[in-house]
């Protein structure tokens, strides 16, 4: 589920998908409401949250920096191993 900060009721979106363990989200988008990132991690776990901006660069970086999370959780979002799996999968298709 891409773009959780893309403008919408993120509480609703997370509630619908929290139990779908194969669903991941990214924090991209221009919404800078606090505590969006903390709530996303609380619901999905940092390992199911990917970093993204959708072109809102300062919002994307600032949200991660400003979130009340541990350093490990922030690093997991910024360098999520899931990215590598997606990229590998993409290469196989190509």
């Amino acid at each position: 589920m891409a773009h959780i900060s893309g403008g919408g009721d993120w509480n609703w979106e997370m509630k619908c998908l929290k139990d779908c363990k194969n669903v991941f989200t990214d924090i991209s988008g221009s919404v800078i409401e606090a505590p969006l990132v903390e709530e996303t991690v609380a619901v999905f776990g940092a390992e199911r949250v990917l970093f993204g901006t959708d072109g809102s660069f300062s919002a994307g970086i600032g949200k991660v920096c400003g979130a009340n999370l541990t350093k490990e959780q922030k690093l997991t979002i910024l360098n999520n191993p899931r990215f590598e799996r997606y990229l590998k999968r993409g290469n196989q298709v190509c």
Partner: protein, 260 residues
């Protein structure tokens, strides 16, 4: 020094928020090296008589007078509003915040313009938060659209002596129209919703408004302070602003606007 032109204190009725008290907000400011902040009551916006919220705010921030600068919420279509304005001046409020959508009046209507003109007479600057929360994800009972560009331009033209700050706005739309108005009153914009790392939007604001009219403002605690800190870093390292321009945005423009 870093001054935040747009913070609020209190409970937001439409979603969870944190750091709602003055003590929590000051702690948050310390975390991000914000020296001072202009604050208004979030509760008071939703009270029938906004003055009750203004009084609550003064009590709440009393222990933090050196850090928190009070802005009063004024409702131009409520009873005896000019007396409210006078009372707020005497109580030491340093700015007025108007919420035309929440209180149900046009910003360019006669009641609001009367308040804008009275504010100029009292030498009180006026802040216009375009919206409190992103309207795309709003609660069904929060049916407020952001304040429109034309409405603000009309109001600014009808109150030529009033100092006006537009907070949390899409300034690429606002600044080109407002900056060409010939008026004695000052116009300022905060960086809350301008993505400075998107070169075009910040450059457009800078070109239209000039560094003399841009201030640091976060909308905290409803919005992340760190997002605005990233923008400051960008301005100094990439956007080519010199030290003097950066200091204006960080604090000097706010000092001048709020008469600090």
């Amino acid at each position: 020094m870093l001054i935040d032109a747009n913070m609020v204190i209190g409970h937001y009725p439409f979603r969870k928020s944190e750091n709602k008290t003055a003590a929590e907000l000051v702690k948050l400011m310390d975390q991000y090296s914000v020296d001072k902040a202009v604050v208004s009551s979030l509760n008071g916006i939703y009270y029938r008589d906004v003055m009750e919220g203004n009084y609550e705010l003064l009590d709440e921030i009393a222990p933090f007078k050196d850090r928190l600068i009070p802005a009063c919420v004024i409702n131009p279509v409520y009873a005896d509003v000019l007396t409210d304005l006078n009372t707020c001046l005497k109580l030491g409020f340093r700015a007025i915040r108007l919420f035309p959508r929440q209180h149900g009046y046009p910003l360019d209507g006669p009641e609001a313009v009367a308040v804008l003109k009275a504010a100029a007479e009292y030498n009180l600057p006026v802040q216009l938060p375009v919206y409190l929360d992103d309207p795309r994800g709003r609660h069904p009972m929060d049916y407020m659209d952001p304040i429109g560009v034309d409405e603000i331009v009309n109001a600014a033209m009808l109150s030529l002596d009033t100092d006006i700050m537009i907070n949390n706005g899409n300034h690429q739309s606002f600044a080109p129209k407002l900056s060409c108005l010939i008026r004695k009153g000052r116009i300022c914009y905060d960086i809350g919703r301008t993505d400075c790392m998107n070169q075009t939007s910040f450059t457009e604001l800078l070109e239209a408004a000039g560094a003399d009219h841009i201030v640091f403002g976060t909308g905290a605690p409803l919005q992340y302070i760190a997002v605005q800190q990233v923008k400051l870093a960008f301005m100094s390292r990439t956007a080519g602003l010199n030290e003097q321009q950066l200091e204006k945005i960080k604090s000097e423009n706010a000092k001048e606007f709020f008469h600090l």
